[in-house]
């Protein structure tokens, strides 16, 4: 296991996994107050994958999911910040783990790709809203792949708040 830690986020990655934690500027179109240069707002994005992560990829894995093969999976944790915390979409408190393989759906992919499936969970930790997005290279392999995802999720620590091991409620 290798430890990846940055900006208060820590996660343990199994052998063979790539990971990155980046602080990305919020695109101006998402801000009601103007360009990002005027606000300096940004968010933390975590990418973890059991395949080589391409250096150029979108927040939700565009550029990476296209090269996934059947045994691959990509996990994204996107920090929506304090404004999102506690809102209806983010009402679930704690990191949602374990994930249920049967809740994965090909239509949950940010960009649907043949044979792949995905899952999104929105939740709040320590007053910040997060989105967990998991993409599977093969829906057929979802049981084995989700087991790997859960193994990693159980090591996740967001801002000093380790994973909530309770049973998740649907968001």
């Amino acid at each position: 296991m290798s430890t990846l830690s940055y900006e208060g986020v820590t996660v343990e990655l199994p052998p063979g996994w790539d990971g990155a934690i980046r602080r990305m500027p919020i695109p101006a179109r998402d801000l009601s107050v103007g360009a990002e240069a005027e606000t300096g707002e940004s968010h933390v994005v975590v990418h973890a994958a059991n395949f080589p992560l391409p250096p150029e990829r979108g927040d939700f894995g565009s550029g990476a999911v296209e090269i996934m093969r059947s045994q691959h999976l990509l996990m994204v944790i996107f920090d929506y910040g304090p404004d999102a915390a506690g809102t209806a979409l983010f009402r679930y408190e704690g990191i949602p783990v374990p994930l249920d393989p049967e809740t994965f759906d090909p239509n949950m992919m940010q960009r649907p790709l043949p044979l792949q499936s995905g899952l999104q969970r929105f939740f709040t930790v320590n007053g910040r809203g997060y989105c967990l997005y998991v993409a599977l290279g093969s829906h057929r392999n979802r049981h084995a792949l989700v087991e790997q995802a859960n193994e990693v999720l159980r090591t996740l620590d967001l801002d000093g708040n380790p994973v909530d091991r309770g049973v998740p409620t649907p968001p």
């Binding site: 290798s2 990846l4 830690s5 940055y6 990655l13 052998p15 063979g16 996994w17 790539d18 990971g19 990155a20 934690i21 980046r22 602080r23 080589p52 992560l53 391409p54 250096p55 150029e56 093969r69 059947s70 044979l115 829906h139 057929r140």
Partner: protein, 242 residues
């Protein structure tokens, strides 16, 4: 009085022997430093500098390879799997300031589909960490299509002697299979291809990782067995029935 002179003479003799020993030791240290390529006129503080070129001396003892963990030049942290994977990884240890490295930065920037030794080989550029490199400079040099990590720890782990320096790791065995320094990509390419050919068992020559998987897929497809074919999942219901 005579005794005093004798004692003084002995003391002087001992001092002479001591000074001679120190001078000899100092000369030995300078000679060793010179052999290692450390000149007295180098800038202190780990500043980037041109380095001697040519194929580096093989290291006496290679330890097992390790994953590369460090910082991203654009901000953030990253870990790159090098061992425990079914592929080769070419680690390119570069500096932002060394003259010889410049040609490699340009080569990697301009070549999205760089012809790497092996079939499924991944190129990872490793610079020293922000303590020794400027993240902004590294970000301006980092190739868009190849991962770049800033990690002084990786330089220490792999005992990188000079820059540029290249190390090829077999992710399956976790061992370094080739390494060296050169002035051009062509030299490195040739060096590493030879090292890989020498180290690989017959069953691994030519194909590995995704290439083997792709070849298996092609063979199955030629036999009319596509993804989802029931014969691939004995005892299970077809996907369409779930």
């Amino acid at each position: 009085m005579i005794a005093l002179v004798i004692i003084e003479g002995v003391a002087l003799l001992l001092l002479a022997v001591l000074v001679g020993g120190l001078l000899r030791s100092h000369a030995e240290i300078l000679r060793k430093l010179h052999d290692l390529g450390a000149g007295l006129d180098e800038s202190a503080g780990g500043l980037p500098r041109p380095v001697a070129v040519g194929v580096a001396e093989p290291r006496v003892a290679d330890g097992p390879a390790v994953d590369v963990a460090g910082e991203l030049a654009s901000g953030g942290a990253a870990t790159v799997a090098v061992v425990g994977v079914d592929r080769f990884t070419l680690l390119a240890f570069l500096s932002s300031g060394c003259l010889t490295c410049a040609s490699f930065w340009e080569e990697f920037q301009s070549s999205q589909d760089l012809a790497l030794p092996g079939t499924d080989t991944r190129l990872v550029v490793v610079t020293k960490g922000p303590d020794a490199e400027s993240p902004a400079k590294v970000a301006s040099l980092a190739p868009a299509h190849h991962t770049t990590v800033m990690s002084s720890e990786a330089w220490d782990d792999y005992r990188v002697p000079v820059s540029p320096y290249f190390i090829m790791v077999d992710g399956t065995t976790g061992q370094v299979v080739g390494e060296g320094a050169a002035t051009t990509w062509a030299q490195i390419d040739s060096l590493l291809r030879q090292a890989m050919a020498d180290s690989a068992p017959d069953s691994r020559r030519g194909l590995n990782g995704q290439a083997r998987e792709a070849r298996a897929d092609e063979t199955l497809a030629a036999a009319g067995i596509e993804a989802g074919h029931p014969s691939l999942y004995p005892g299970e219901a077809p996907e369409s029935e779930r």
